[in-house]
Symmetry: C2
Subunit: 316 residues, 2 copies
DNA sequence: ATCATTTACTTGACTAAGTCAACCAATTTA
DNA sequence: TAAATTGGTTGACTTAGTCAAGTAAATGAT
């Protein structure tokens, strides 16, 4: 099932639409170029696509193939008949439904598919080989992004994972927090600078025994983070909790806070404290649910706005 | 002409190749879905593609169309004949070559194309509309990246532009510098922290009269930056020059340094100074060419490495 | 339990879409 | 100036795919 937040929708701008259309035209051509290479084989393009599916997925039925590849049922039927005549596939009537059968490649089918597969592989390899490795990575990353955004069924198997800070993270976290709060609350660039300062200080004075960072990663992208720093022997401070809008609803915020609490307990701190602003309601709910209590409120003028700062404490 | 650096090439890994192939299969299907919607019109898909080209580009010849859309010459010839019979296009024999003619849509042709164009536009709009705006932007950005990387002819019209710092930049610059120097020279996370610290300080104490930032943007992405800060009435300091590997060779580094020098002169500084490390040879060449002179060298241990720091000065 | 409907697949009849080779005329190259 | 190349056209052809009708099995409604 797909769970997806849908904040701030608006009519897509003409520029965006045109860019997508330009990409569609471009990629139509691109696929055409790649397919040309496969045309020399005895199989048509569609036949090759069918063979690919059969080689990579088990227990497919004729309807599955038609649906997934967008083919006419009659056409699929004929293709399969041809493959059967060539002894490339075998069909086993399903016990659950005598109309359907599970289709599998025979060894001969695998043999026939192998050179096709190799050609396609080599062609893509040649395409990639024109680029330096760093650009290859960018290409693939961008492709994955496109695919994930367009394919609603493409929810990642692992929704997210937590890991400690690594090089590049503090810049990324700085950027995203700066941009998010600028966008959502109109905060100015001094907030981003504050985040940068806090993170720089965290790294420089990092004390692994008493402090820790958690970065939430989803599909190789940072989608959230939180930090615990030492204030005193007794008191730890939770800092800079954030979750990407696109990754909200997965429980990442709650999980990050839980990790902080667990860590603070394990290290023997007596109190976990944090500072936030009253307008950040999503975060507040998480803190409340985790047992934090508001201890202090104080108006202040920061980041170009009038705000109300809050201190929250949790007894460990 | 395409100028492109080709550092560190290697055989593309199987994972990358498979990811690209998966994307190709995915997008084949995606295009198929989008095209289904256009099938109800009187024109075939290819006819629609031809009309699109004709509507958007002037002075096309039959060969141009065949080449750009990957179509058989005979087929193009027939398509055009059909369009001519329907009075959708007109042909004007070229003065320069009596065999060729320049093809243009007639008003009737534009009329016939309009609903097709609208359908395609609306369909893409509907596709985008399923996503929140922030994700729409990500999608389009990723598509542009894919297109630019695969299409060697797709050099951007504007190679790059310079602008002052905006929200999100200091995080991005921090990240990229941290990652680049980690990758190329093995520097540890304290370098990234240092960049974050410097940039945070820059923003917090920014004095517009005496200080300035330049961010180089290419295709909407940050590909370089540099900062000038005030050391004293007489001395300005150039800091944190960097250019993305993918954007090198465009003269961005040189340009950024020139901007710094011009600014420092205009503000009446007497000296522009900078600190760098001897291993950063590309940067050094730029400084030398701009007239900077090495004034001091000093070994130091930073970022987990033994380095040789250098001070360079330019008399303004 | 039974009848109507839906689903999975098949088949015949068809055509749109595209290919291939041969050809002509204009242009370029040797 | 002859030979080769390029731009475009045409006839003959195939292939890839569509559409509608039909069968048998499964499902749903009564």
């Amino acid at each position: 099932m797909t769970i997806r937040h849908q904040p701030d929708r608006a009519v897509p701008s003409k520029d965006l639409i045109d860019a997508v259309r330009a990409f569609n035209r471009f990629y139509t051509r691109q696929i055409g170029l790649l397919d040309e290479g496969l045309l020399k084989s005895t199989f048509s393009l569609t036949e090759a696509r069918v063979l690919y599916e059969l080689a990579h997925r088990d227990g497919l039925t004729a309807t599955d193939l038609g649906r997934d590849l967008g083919l006419d049922a009659g056409y699929v039927s004929r293709l399969l008949k041809k493959f059967e005549r060539l002894h490339l596939i075998s069909r086993a009537t399903l016990a659950s439904d005598a109309r359907q059968s599970s289709i599998a490649l025979t060894p001969a089918g695998r043999n026939a598919f192998a050179p096709l597969n190799k050609d396609s592989h080599d062609q893509v390899a040649a395409l990639l080989d024109r680029l330096p490795t760093s650009e290859q990575d960018r290409l693939v990353k961008s492709m994955r992004t496109v695919q994930r955004l367009l394919d609603e069924n493409a929810e990642p198997k692992i929704p997210y994972l937590l890991r400690p800070l690594q090089v590049g993270d503090i810049g990324w976290i700085t950027r995203r927090q700066g941009m998010l709060y600028a966008q959502d609350y109109g905060w100015d660039e001094t907030y981003e600078a504050l985040v940068a300062e806090i993170l720089a200080a965290f790294v420089k004075s990092y004390d692994p025994k008493w402090e820790r960072s958690w970065v939430a990663e989803r599909e190789g992208e940072v989608v959230g983070s939180v930090f615990v720093v030492r204030k005193s022997d007794q008191v730890a401070k939770l800092r800079l909790l954030y979750v990407e809008p696109s990754a909200r609803g997965l429980g990442i915020g709650k999980r990050l806070v839980e990790e902080c609490i667990g860590f603070a307990r394990a290290r023997g701190y007596k109190t976990l404290t944090l500072w936030t602003n009253d307008i950040l309601t999503a975060a507040r709910h998480i803190y409340q649910a985790a047992g934090f209590r508001l201890t202090e409120e104080e108006p202040h003028h920061s980041f170009g706005k009038d705000l109300v700062g809050q201190n929250w404490d949790l007894d460990l």
